[in-house]
């Protein structure tokens, strides 16, 4: 377990890793990655019981699935900084012969990744499967997921939500990154999501809302509430309200940095806002 200042320092380093990875290959998705940095840093360093020596089956440890695979820069940084693979490997992001593919995959054997994601809407189903396997194995650990809010437009999510609610898959906590943005504009402009709390509750879930999804203490409080609600015959959903591009002022509050890399000048600006705390790769 880490204190809030340690986690903040790690977030600052993770933000540097994100913008540096994306800048180096002039491609990738910085906006959503930055928005979820506090959440994933807190999850991996304060909440989950996990083993960086990495076993694919994940028996007797908490397991995380990134369903919105395009925010790969943040999960790569968080996994590397947690000891799953060498931090210097972040320099290979999106390059030929790398284990750090544009979207996360098991295909090149990257420790920490248990399923490919990128084509949206599939992670909740996979999480249900692992949650069911844990029950069969008498394994009392938890399955966590992260989804984009735009991703909820995929029909498979609601097949999975219906199954989990109807079958009391209560060892699974699914977090929705509610940043209100997607590629073509705001979620309201593209395809309005409506009342997500009511939707998940109608599917038989317990719902926790974290209004300050970029605040580490608020994330900790929300996660603890979610964990306290788990194992009570209902799946648990966290509506995590985040700011896309958080921590880099010129990227915040807009969908425009969903999938665009910063240029040299913008990189320098972004790095000046986020001190190097643990050493750049």
């Amino acid at each position: 377990m880490a204190d809030t200042q340690q986690l903040k320092d790690l977030v600052s380093q993770v933000r540097r890793d994100i913008v540096r990875q994306v800048h180096a290959v002039n491609s990738g998705h910085p906006g959503g990655s930055l928005g979820c940095a506090e959440f994933l840093v807190t999850l991996y360093n304060d909440i989950m019981d996990h083993d960086p020596s990495f076993n694919m089956d994940g028996v007797n440890e908490d397991v995380f699935y990134l369903s919105n695979g395009h925010i790969s820069p943040v999960i790569y940084s968080v996994l590397a900084r947690a000891g799953y693979f060498p931090v210097k490997e972040l320099a290979t992001f999106r390059k030929l012969n790398s284990r750090l593919q544009g979207h996360p995959t098991t295909h090149e054997g990257l420790p920490g990744i248990r399923i490919a994601s990128g084509s949206l809407g599939q992670g909740m189903s996979v999480a249900i499967g692992t949650a069911l396997a844990k029950k069969l194995n008498g394994d009392d650990k938890t399955v966590f997921t992260l989804h984009g809010d735009g991703e909820l437009q995929e029909g498979q999510i609601w097949e999975a939500a219906m199954y989990a609610g109807s079958n009391a898959v209560d060892n699974m906590i699914c977090t929705i990154d509610v940043n209100g943005q997607q590629i073509d504009g705001s979620t309201d402009q593209v395809l309005a999501l409506g009342d997500l709390r009511n939707k998940f509750e109608a599917f038989g879930w317990d719902v926790v809302t974290v209004e300050k999804g970029n605040d580490i203490d608020a994330i900790k409080t929300g996660m603890k509430e979610a964990i306290s609600l788990s194992r009570k015959r209902k799946p648990v959903c966290i509506l995590l309200h985040t700011e896309m591009g958080n921590g880099v002022d010129f990227m915040m509050g807009s969908h425009k940095w969903h999938g665009v890399a910063p240029n040299d000048e913008q990189l320098a600006d972004a790095l000046s806002q986020n001190p190097e705390t643990l050493g750049d790769y």
Partner: protein, 317 residues
């Protein structure tokens, strides 16, 4: 000629059900998922014997494929069951990303393939599934010919690590392969020795190929008959060795000629031993309603058409 005895018509899906029932007793890791077709897939017995290891997912095939992928993470061996159409085309991206690309040990078991599901018509008669599945890197594709072989294949794929597509069907067809026979993934089964033409068949067309060989024999044409139950990986050596002997080939399958066994054979021969080939398969068309027998006759998927294609191909040598 070898004589093959039909020990009584049975459906291949019941062979799958029998295999799954046996696996339930012998392999604790085996779990099963079904999308509201438990009776059609003959999964009832497994479901009744092992309610904790059977997952009814409802009419939600995409979710079923994802759950199956997730169950492997924790060491389970999931068998999914639904119709071939809903096992492949409907969920292609889920299989591609969460199972094939992720190298998950999921067994996708598909009944009611091809035309012979009959009266339900073209919405349910997929004739493209072999092509869809064989194009996925790492996917093993199996199409069994009778009850006994389907049961044997069901047992065999549980012991193989990796994604598998197992294709079988609805109609009661001749049961002629050995009971409790050995099933080797990727290994062709040589059924008749012949010298004039090779007939390579898969699935329900294997029995038709044997019937055709008898008729050809009466017409003075000696047919080498091979049962290809595994379309991928293909037993290329068995096919090439046979064609080296006969000089020509007929492929027979209950599938579109685009993307099916015939195309895999044509590629193999083009690379290694070019030879005249004729295709018994549907000709880039959808199916329609009708009885299985009527459909097989209308679309030429029977012994009579194998005979006429064989007669045609020997003239092209």
């Amino acid at each position: 000629m070898k004589v093959y005895e039909n020990t009584g018509n049975k459906d291949t899906r019941s062979g799958f059900g029998a295999g799954l029932t046996q696996l339930g007793k012998t392999n604790e890791k085996v779990v099963a998922l079904c999308a509201d077709l438990t009776g059609s897939l003959k999964m009832n017995e497994f479901a009744a014997n092992h309610p904790d290891r059977f997952f009814q997912v409802g009419i939600a095939e995409a979710n079923m494929m994802g759950i199956a992928a997730g169950l492997t993470i924790g060491g389970k061996i999931p068998f999914t069951g639904t119709f071939a159409n809903f096992s492949t085309g409907r969920v292609y991206d889920q299989i591609r990303q969460s199972i094939a690309y992720s190298d998950k040990n999921v067994k996708i078991c598909a009944s009611h393939s091809g035309l012979t599901l009959g009266e339900d018509g073209a919405t349910h008669q997929i004739l493209e599934d072999i092509g869809l599945m064989k194009m996925l890197p790492g996917m093993t594709v199996i199409n069994t010919c009778d009850f006994n072989q389907t049961k044997a294949a069901t047992l065999a794929i549980a012991d193989y690590h990796g994604p598998v597509y197992l294709r079988f069907g609805r109609p009661k067809v001749a049961n002629f392969t050995p009971e409790n026979g050995d099933f080797q993934i990727g290994k062709a089964v040589h059924l008749q020795e012949g010298t004039d033409v090779t007939i390579v068949a898969t699935g329900h067309l294997v029995w038709e190929a044997l019937e055709a060989a008898k008729e050809l024999n009466e017409k003075g044409i000696s047919a080498d008959v091979i049962n290809i139950h595994t379309i991928k990986p293909l037993d290329e050596k068995a096919i090439i060795d046979s064609v080296k002997k006969t000089g020509c080939i007929v492929t027979a399958e209950e599938h579109n000629f685009l993307g099916g066994l015939g195309e895999s054979v044509a590629r193999t021969l083009a690379q290694h031993h070019p030879a005249p080939q004729e295709f018994v398969a549907t000709q880039d068309t959808f199916g329609e309603s009708g009885t299985p027998a009527q459909l097989l006759e209308k679309y030429g998927l029977n012994a009579a058409n194998i005979v006429s294609k064989a007669q045609a191909v020997v003239k092209r040598k």
